[in-house]
Amino acid sequence: MKKSQSESEWTLEIKPVSGWFNFHLKDVWKYRDLLFMFVKRDFVSVYKQTILGPFWFFLQPILTTITFTIVFGNIAKIPTDGIPPILFYMSGIVCWGYFSDCLTRTSSTFITNANIFGKVYFPRLVSPLSNIISLLMKFGIQMILLIGFLIYFKMNGSDVNPNIYILLTPYLILLMAGLGLGFGIIVSSLTTKYRDFTFLVSFGVQLLMYATPVIYPLSALPEKYKWIVLANPMTSIVDTFRYAFLGAGTFNAGNLLYTSVFVVLILSIGIIVFNRVEKTFMDTV
């Protein structure tokens, strides 16, 4: 009688890892202060480390855009849907950059945080979540750059037509973040056991870029290969983004829906795997 009374008061029970589905998403919410602190840490350390820090954020897309314009535009002469090549490439690069940053950064979650994970408990998901939020800073700076170029080209009479679909941008960002996070935490979970996965990522991300309409428009693809590129969930994001800001290409709600479903799926798988691994990971490092 007395026993059952005291047993109900336990606030926490630590048990062996079992099952795949007992995650504590509520815990993540409880630790939102920590999430905020991690983001702040990233902001401050980028800002303080070098004066060049934020400057690099500008330089990187500009240099890449120039390279792409020369290589793919002038030499390979890949069409750009009638849009100034600089705007075409830069819009693709900015989008792709955010996604690939999210993926690569979160994919090393366990390795970069091994020390702190080994010393203190908090829902591990807080770390990759803080990464994708911090990366918004870089994305935001690059967006300003892109908009600057856009205004310049528009004033000089180029045929670019930003339109109402711009309102979709937050949703597109959410999709990219979800996609990067989903893939990233799956990879990070795998790397704790089989380290060879780390190289596969950087290689895979590069390869995936060529299966995304970053350097070419969807319209320039031969019908035969189109399905490969359309199966890539990033495709509709980049495509919609370009349509919204530059008015080129098409807007296809079906493709965007496909991507949304894909994101939900990959994110669910990611969270399940990640939750499982976070409990056994300390034994394998």
């Binding site: 005291s6 047993e7 008061e9 336990w10 606030t11 926490l12 029970e13 630590i14 048990k15 062996p16 890892v17 630790y31 202060d33 920590l34 905020f36 602190m37 991690f38 702040k40 840490r41 401050v44 350390s45 303080k48 480390q49 020390n115 702190i116 994970f117 080994g118 010393k119 203190v120 408990y121 908090f122 056991k193 089989y194 409990k279 056994t280 300390m282 034994d283 394998t284």
Partner: protein
Amino acid sequence: MNSVIKVENLSKMYRLGLVGRRTIAEDLTRFWAKFTGKEDPYLKVGETNVRAVKGRSDFVWALKNINFDINDGERYGIIGKNGAGKSTLLKILSRVASPTTGNIKVKGRVASLLEVGTGFHPELTGRDNIFLNGSILGMSQDEIKSKFDSIVDFSGVERYIDTPVKRYSSGMYVRLAFAVAAHLEPEILIVDEVLAVGDAEFQKKCLGKMHDVSEKEGRTVIFVSHNLHAIKILCQKTLILNNGELFANGNTEEVLSMYHELNRDIKIGADTEVDNIKSRRGNGFIRFTSIDALDFSGKSRYTFEHGEPVRFKISFRTYKEMNGVTLTIAVMSGLSRECLTLAHHEITRQKLDAGITGEAVVEFSNLNIKPGEYPLHFELTDIVYNGYSKDVIDDLTPPLVIKAGDKVKDSEFDPEKPSGFFLTPSKLILNELNENVMEVKNI
């Protein structure tokens, strides 16, 4: 009494060695066994964890069938040799690692301090790091804000609070980190060996704070340390882990005396395989074959009354040619691990071949140190020290325990305030070499 932590049949298995390509195959085997409903094949090969004996399998039980209860407001010490499983237990309690079997029930918020300054970022200022570290340890922003002034005050680094911590001295860094941790207000505070870093003053401050937290605010404290002295001051109850098993659990006084018993069982032999470099080093040219402490009448014991003469009897064996032999016996301070005093004697100046055994007894006739516990350090080297020692036994034997006797004199050493090195007379009262062992053995 109300129990706040209840540990039931807790076990933890680890895999030793490198995780190689084999693991994929192993995982498949495991999966197959699970799939066909058989028992996990790797759970069987685990064996108890004896550091000195090389195991045959790569799986080891870091903890095995642990059961205990901790009551509200108790200060509990956990002691045990290196690798006994203390940190593993704390890691499971703090949810950093998961148990393999068994479970733990906890009542109340747990904060664990497995390290000071977890997550400190060098580029951030002291102020930012207080907030960052505080959130990592589980405090909310408001909580940190309300305690901020008192944290800064406790740390004593006000002047540098807006300087990046990379410019802090290591002492300031530790102070700030501990100040944050000291202001956590969990119902249960878990502390692992943080006292090992920092100076004597800092160690004392930590101990004092832990004591206050429990005494004044009624919180439960769990404290792991190799420092038996600190355990004795702080903890009412103690448990001993030995090779992953619970060896004893009870009042600190009683348990500590059992710990000495346990340590007495360690036999230092030439073939003791001690892979922990911290405890045994050397190139194996010569090895201790036994180490013992003796009293005046030749009886073996490690506990002495204050003022009593203490003798150490050692024997050794050479495995390679040695250019003479010297023996060093050092008495260390339990708190700071500084050397308090030592005896240094030439055993022989002549060149020794391999296979020679010897025996020596060193006496400290007047070891004037305060009651307390002193880890011991034994070392054999060539007559000319040429950069590395031949065999070192560091803190593997029981510590020397000095008890307050009748003849307490005004002694110089205080284990709480190690104040440097002291010369103490010692003499070699027995010294024998036996050169014929090899031949005798061959007949």
